[in-house]
Amino acid sequence: MPRMVRLIWILFALHLALGMIAYTHFLVTGRYVVLGWYFSTLGTLFFLVMTVTECTLAVMCRSWFDPDEPMRLAWSMIACAALARLAGVVLRTVYDNHLPWGYWHQFNLLSGGLFTNLSQVGLVVGGPLSMAFLAIGLGRVLGIQRKFHLLASLTRVDKVLLVLVVAFSVSQLSINLPLFGNHPSLGTMLLWLSDPLLSLLLIEAILVRRSVIRMGQGLVAKCWGMFVLAIIVTSAGDAAIWADSHNLLSESMTALSWYIWFVAAAAFASAPAYQLAAISLTRESSLHLVEKR
């Protein structure tokens, strides 16, 4: 495992260990004090560290491709997606005033009715906008993989998954469309795009997953595998929110489902780390080459 990837997952493990202590405290006492502090302060810090790491690594990966190379656009889009996710975290942190430093509530009042508040801007930037960038980037990658005949045909399970994803997306649209009559804000309407975009990302993830399975366990394959994991985990988190809104989850299960987002953040950060490790391998002499006999 590359050093940077190991570092990301060690940080994740430590953060999760602290999270489990907070969760145990919540289960024992039934109070949200420690759990709330953990998610608002440590959780926000973790997201900030992960998104900054992801953004920096994605920009570094992009710099390795010349402007006329097809993967340049893919990594540009992935870097934009990471930057949007980082901006989203920062905006929500500013609004919620979760971090111990700074008091920025005076910036929360937005003129006009486009967005409800700064947190909604953060949700749109870190949600649908970031997903749109990632969808374009992954679309480009799929095009390159198809060029090299790396895309394998879909299995029956893949097809079932695709049907489920499309059905979920259509059902969400059918719920949201009648709400147009209530004159929702632009921010609310943009947030409705989250589910269709996530569905598109899942479709791309299923296709990328096929090619990754076909290739094996190389560093580049793991990079795209991490994107697939991040997208699947994001969908799981989204499903948990949906289930919670329909009172399908118990209180303890709802609290446990919040940890899913940390896995997604770590997976998103690991993806460019794997790509950079593959590129760095060509510059280092760490790979033991076959010796001349």
Binding site: W64, P70, I144, G216, T282, L289
Partner: protein, 120 residues
């Protein structure tokens, strides 16, 4: 060269007269140089491309293929070679460069090629 440089006095000088017999020496040297160049080009061409199946592969070619297979496995995965080629025939720099360039970039692929051809 600047346009006005064409009128520089130094450029008006005539070419020095050739030494007697220098043409013969030059031709001999050119022939041996061309042979040498051709031999080198053939060698590099053999390393870059998959040679004729009937021809006996040199150790260098085999080494290049083994190193490329190792890089392919590290970067893409253990099945990448077979899924790309569809057969188990030997990999060459020419056949593997496009995929390395696509996923690692031109600069990284140049470094990779340099490492693959190291000590050969």
């Amino acid at each position: 060269m600047k346009l006005l440089g064409r009128w520089h006095p130094k450029l008006w000088r005539r070419k020095p007269a050739a030494a007697p017999g220098s043409d013969l020496n030059f031709e001999a040297a050119a022939t041996s140089g061309l042979d040498d160049l051709q031999a080198r080009l053939n060698h590099w061409s053999d390393l870059w491309t998959r040679g004729n199946e009937s021809a006996i592969r040199s150790d260098a070619q085999r080494l290049v293929a083994e190193r490329l297979a190792k890089w392919m496995e590290h970067c893409f995965g253990q099945h990448a070679q077979s899924s790309l080629r569809g057969t188990d025939s030997q990999i060459s720099l020419a056949s593997s460069t496009p995929i390395f360039t696509a996923f690692l970039g031109r600069r990284a692929t140049r470094e990779l090629s340099r490492r693959v051809l190291q000590d050969l």
